[in-house]
Symmetry: C2
Subunit: 457 residues, 2 copies
Amino acid sequence: MRNILLIGAGRSATSLIKYLLDHSSKEDLKITIGDLSKESADKFTKGHPRAKGIQFDVFNQALRSRAIQEADIVISMLPASLHIEVAKDCLLYHKNLVTASYVSNEMQALDQEVKSKGLIFMNEIGVDPGIDHMSAMQVIDRIRDVGGKMLMFESFTGGLVAPESDNNLWHYKFTWNPRNVVLAGQGGAAEFIQEGTYKYIPYHRLFRRTEFLDIKGYGRFEAYANRNSLKYRKIYGLEDILTLYRGTMRRVGFSKAWNMFVQLGMTDDTYAIPNSEEMTYREFINLFLPYSPTDSVELKIRYALKIDQDDLMWDKLLELDIFNTEKKIDIVDATPAQALQKILMEKWTLQDNEKDMIVMYHKFGYHLNGANHQIDSNMVIIGEDQTYTAMAATVGLPVAIATLKILNGEITSTGVQIPIAKEVYKPILQELASYGIVFQEQEVEYLGYNPKGGVVS
Amino acid sequence: MRNILLIGAGRSATSLIKYLLDHSSKEDLKITIGDLSKESADKFTKGHPRAKGIQFDVFNQALRSRAIQEADIVISMLPASLHIEVAKDCLLYHKNLVTASYVSNEMQALDQEVKSKGLIFMNEIGVDPGIDHMSAMQVIDRIRDVGGKMLMFESFTGGLVAPESDNNLWHYKFTWNPRNVVLAGQGGAAEFIQEGTYKYIPYHRLFRRTEFLDIKGYGRFEAYANRNSLKYRKIYGLEDILTLYRGTMRRVGFSKAWNMFVQLGMTDDTYAIPNSEEMTYREFINLFLPYSPTDSVELKIRYALKIDQDDLMWDKLLELDIFNTEKKIDIVDATPAQALQKILMEKWTLQDNEKDMIVMYHKFGYHLNGANHQIDSNMVIIGEDQTYTAMAATVGLPVAIATLKILNGEITSTGVQIPIAKEVYKPILQELASYGIVFQEQEVEYLGYNPKGGVVS
């Protein structure tokens, strides 16, 4: 029996564990699930004969090293900042490692040692990052293999509510960490390149410079720019590309409405509000509006944001019940972002019978045989239910498949890596397709952002 | 002879040095001016028999401790972050110290030791901070002395161009560190209280929530909120005050126009622009506007900022020549803020024959004998020329006067302090008046922000 140690069994681990258990007999696997409490680990094993739950505390060195020594391969689904201790033990005990997280500098620093020991530390193999890398590199390599030259690469992902459960005015519900949604885009200007020119968008304008994306059968989406679109420029080998842009997808209208909170300063996470615990929603909103002895919070917010009487923006605010005079923030020393999250979670939490959706959209512009071409490629995955969500499937299945392929020696390149090599992404994408995780491709006219080749400035 | 060591002789030191030299015979003073180069120190001594220039490098411990040992009192006009080394030597060699800078945590930490040695480390005794503290505390103490209770304190300061030299559309020129002007308001939301309610303004709205202030003979000004209005709440003894607000004064229209740069992201100081050195002003502006093969930078900026054809905002942009296709940023790895500063300095630098102006405005609301009252108090100082500027006078004279009064034993309270004690501010304000640094006071109707005592929310 080969022992797979999975550390950190959260909501996103359902599909991952199901895959491993489903393959456990045929592949002769034993699945050890480690969590802070053995009890919560046991919930995932469900008494399966080839699975067992153990207590695992990443800061307990004895526990940690024993569990890792007993494993044949390790999957860490811990928060990104906690991988490094696991990685060091994997190095010590010669175990391969799989994570769905971004490669930290600390993790990258292990690369030489990992290679010298012939090990594989595969990272960024969830959905975003993960499926985005693999699906993009597959098309980029195909274009290059026939002699094409990349002109443009744009890539968008969104975690959204499925159309059948989309019943609020924002067309949005939390399907992942709500905190990340509230803080999205903060920390610096978004940077990207268009037609060879650098472009920057400050946070407070990010949600007003969106672009539209249409997906057949699913209608129109919008996307706002991610902070650093250029992160993978070199890694993907796109140093000379004219246009490089990465963004986050939402349903049309979300960004314009979200911008209301940004404008008022309600997404700020840098200071604590005095007496936030006892503060009503209405009092919280009023912190960001000028004092007036006569004007209501409603009028002040309409005036501050220039919201007309019949503007849908207004209904979106009302739907969130932000003017409520009874409901309290109920968080000690809350930052504005934390207080806003509290308000939003009341309305944007998926109900038991509701489903999530993952959408991804790539645009590949290239030059081949004297002409410009473009391939658009997109993926839509709808969750089955609140256990087997689209998020859990798209994060967990690539992790699970990669783990098994490493264990079986089908993936062999060593080092700290992300899934951009053909040897890695090809078999994984192939197997993902059998789970319905597929991209629809279509050739479209390449326009770029300068279709007539004009020069203006 | 008593030896005064003045460290860091910049442009702001002219009036300070003049005062000390003018008093040097009568007070039997010797003035030692230390600067990184002896040559630039000598420029300030102008061969005066009681003055001498020396080389002083704050990081050269031998130089530093020798100079400080030989002094009877030390004035540090170094950048705020460099005071601490000087302060430690002053402690070591039992010398009093005067600075015009904010008290750093490191400086504050010396308080007990300074007191135990019977020393005076007087800080924040320039104009802002400095004259603002003294002039405010004088009125606040007066109100309290007759049994009044403070309801409101608002305080505003501005370094501006004098009316006779005010010849651009922005009604603004740099009279102090331009970098601080470009970065003003950054680093977090502005926080203040109005009628007992906390209020927050995020940076990207700071310049759209101004208030007007009128000064007789000088017309109308506007003010935007400083970042932390509550910093002196406890120090001034205003823990229970209903309204506490500090702001920066500009001529009306400046903030609305400045907001254009804020909105576009051109004041960001957190990232470097690739190839900034070779970039034209026009290319720089275009970084912050969407790509277009057909629309000009002019049209894009008009659209992005919703500037009508006949809007004065447009003329303000043209006046700065920001669309120039020839002029280059000419700074390697410039941040947007640095590039913007370069563009502005071309237009906003005071010419040799031009004068600066310092304005300060306080509002004191209080309750006394069953009624509410308000005193408004303001000060306007116009510079003599480009050497004896209003800034140099209002920063340097309080420093000089305090230094002499400490030297002469007229100020005696020990410790790390700021000039808020009556014993300190009273004689200093008295002497400042003889230099024309006086406040005009008037009683006005107290309205506060809730004149009818209504309760709305």
